[in-house]
């Protein structure tokens, strides 16, 4: 009885040693890696390029935190599985957990499926995200009708067919976002795939330059498509900087003249009198009689 108890104890100790030895190794295994939440967005800037915005987050002490320096591999994928995935490139997330992958134009087709993979990372589990995008185009231009400038935009499929009943945003690009043009948040395309938005007078721009944007925003099927229109009929912004003027807020070298003249006259006047009075002391000292 005692012998069998000792035997069991020995076996238990051995088992514990084995478990602890292996647990050390599994600390670096897939099971203990963190899972990353990955999201991708497709965008296309007309006549320029298309790109994928990749955002990676993971759960940390303070909720979701950006996953920085995470390497992603981007593939052009075939959903049918007939053709193997074609690697398009790799990209790393920045400190905000974001990466912008510019899609080489040769990979853009009528309908393209993109696969973003996180593989063999030391910290994060393997994961992948897939997005399928149908390629569409926006044609945008300025038309002057009855002395009023208008933005005319057409949404066309890859085969150049007009796309009706789609919402397009029309805005004027500003520092912190787009200023809506025409008073509406968005405009629905007609059967010709077109919208016509009048441009109000009085928009200001540096040297009168205005950058309008027509945007098909965050569509599940088409992604985001942006068409830029650059014009120069805005009201030029006049630089009102007082940097070179003599103002109350200028550095000492640009003190306003009145402030240089009046206080200095007063100071010189007072100190001249004081000097005279000091000289009077000297005269008193010298004149005994």
């Amino acid at each position: 009885m005692i012998q069998s108890t000792i035997k069991y104890c020995k076996s238990a100790v051995l088992l514990l040693i084995v478990v602890f030895s292996f647990s050390g190794n599994t600390a670096y295994g897939q099971a203990d890696k963190k899972s990353a939440s990955v999201s991708i967005q497709y965008s296309k800037i007309m006549n320029e390029y298309s790109f994928l915005n990749i955002i990676a987050k993971s759960k940390g002490e303070n909720g979701f935190e950006p996953s920085k320096n995470v390497n992603f591999t981007i593939y052009k994928s075939d959903t049918t599985g007939v053709v193997a995935d074609v690697k398009m490139g790799e990209i790393k997330t920045n400190k905000d957990g974001k990466a912008k992958f510019i899609i080489p134009s040769k990979f853009v087709e009528q309908v393209t499926t993109y696969k973003v993979k996180l593989e063999n990372d030391k910290i994060f589990e393997d994961t992948e995200e897939i997005i399928s995008i149908t390629n569409v185009n926006i044609e945008a231009s300025i038309e002057k009708i009855d002395s009023i400038y208008n933005i005319k935009a057409r949404l066309l499929s890859a085969k150049n067919k007009p796309m009706a009943e789609e919402a397009l945003n029309v805005g004027l690009k500003r520092l912190f976002g787009n200023l809506s043009v025409g008073g509406e948040e968005n405009y629905t395309t007609d059967e010709d795939g077109a919208v016509l938005v009048p441009i109000e007078k009085g928009y200001t721009g540096i040297n009168g330059k205005l950058n309008f944007q027509v945007v098909l925003a965050e569509s599940e099927k088409y992604g985001t498509v942006i068409a830029n229109i650059n014009t120069d009929f805005g009201v030029p912004i006049v630089d009102k900087s007082t940097f070179n003027e003599r103002t109350m807020w200028s550095p000492p070298t640009k003190t306003p003249f009145f402030l240089l003249v009046i206080p200095n006259i007063l100071l010189i006047g007072i100190w001249a009198i004081l000097t005279l009075l000091l000289f009077n002391l000297y005269k008193i000292y010298k004149s005994k009689n």
């Binding site: 100071l267 100190w271 009198i273 004081l274 009077n280 005269k283 000292y285 010298k286 004149s287 005994k288």
Partner: protein, 437 residues
Amino acid sequence: MKEYDKLIQDLAPQKFGKLGQIWVGFLLAVILCALYAYYQQLSRGLSITNLNDYALWGVYISNFVFFVAVSLVGSLVTAILRLSGVTWSTPLTRIAEVIAVAAIIMAGLTIIIDMGRPDRIYNIFLHGRLQSPIIWDVLVISTYLTISLMLLFYPLLPDFAILKKHFANQPKLSKWYGKLSLNWTGSKTQEGLYNKSINTLSILIIPVAFGIHTVTAWLFATTYRPGWDSSNFGPYFIAGAFVAGAGAVVVIMFVLRKAYHLEEYITDMHFDKMGKLLVLLCLVYLYFNVNEYLVPAYKTTTEEAGHLYSLFLGDYAIMFWSAIIGGLVIPTIALLFPQGRKPLPLFIIGIFVVVGAWWKRFIIVTPTLLHPFLPFQGVPKSWHTYFPSMLEWTITFGTLASALLIMTILFRYLPIIPIHETAEEKGLLETHKTDSL
């Protein structure tokens, strides 16, 4: 003893008695503590204070404004009363001039104390902008100090000559008085230069004194903050300065009269007149106070309302009402009665006025800073309030003690009451000259 000799005997500087020595020892002890505290501040920076990003001006700047205010008394008693042909103020002129000099010296030093890096003070002169009221303040303070020193020194010339003779049995002292008298003989040329110079200084000091107080007020009024955003701040500060200065003169003249037995020269009449002057000044200042608080209270913008609430009913209510009622209203009422203008009651009222004036500066400076237009955000809770640290108090008391020490030393070696002028007014000078012949 001839009357002239008795006058000199009475008014010549006297050695410190036991009480005087204790007083000087006490002041030196306070100053030593303050020097230690200032050493701490120099080595550890302004972190030893309770100043912060919001209350960036605290007890030091309040103290500076107080010193500037008290210094105005030099121009009031010496210049304004002299030019108005008032003769009763003669025994008080030296007291006022000494107070003015001590206060303006300490005002300048207090500004340096408020600096985190006083070793960089030369940058004011290298990079100072004439657009900044701070530069105006530097210029006007140095000018006012020079004028005050000259206005103290000029009337002393004949007194130094008198003291040279009086202390003939103390050769060292006599020699010093002789040097300081600049060979004064009272000749016609000297008299002419003397009178012309004093009159010029008396005229000159008035605009400069008004300038220094207005510029100090503009340090606040040119910044857009609740409580300071007032076009009235210049006159308001001048009115307040007259009250603080007159209060200080009343207190000091009472102490000096007692300590040096000057009852014959500083009489009840002088207290009565100073009392009447003080009540007038208090009333003018009260008027400015009503103006300064009633108008914003009527408009009650959000920011002003918060600031006024803290003064009237909030954290600063006790200080505010103590300064207004204890330092202005009660003194005004008490001084309306002849009994209130007797030496002892007036001395007590003077103390109330001076202490009230000091606190008034504190509540002009601090509560406004704690009511910024942009709300407090992302800062420790302790930054929402301000009360000086022990080391700040020590340094502040040190500056007050230094001002009192300067006065004490000056009163030790200078005649408290102008001997020559008093003799002249009493007609003793002519008699003395005749007797000498």
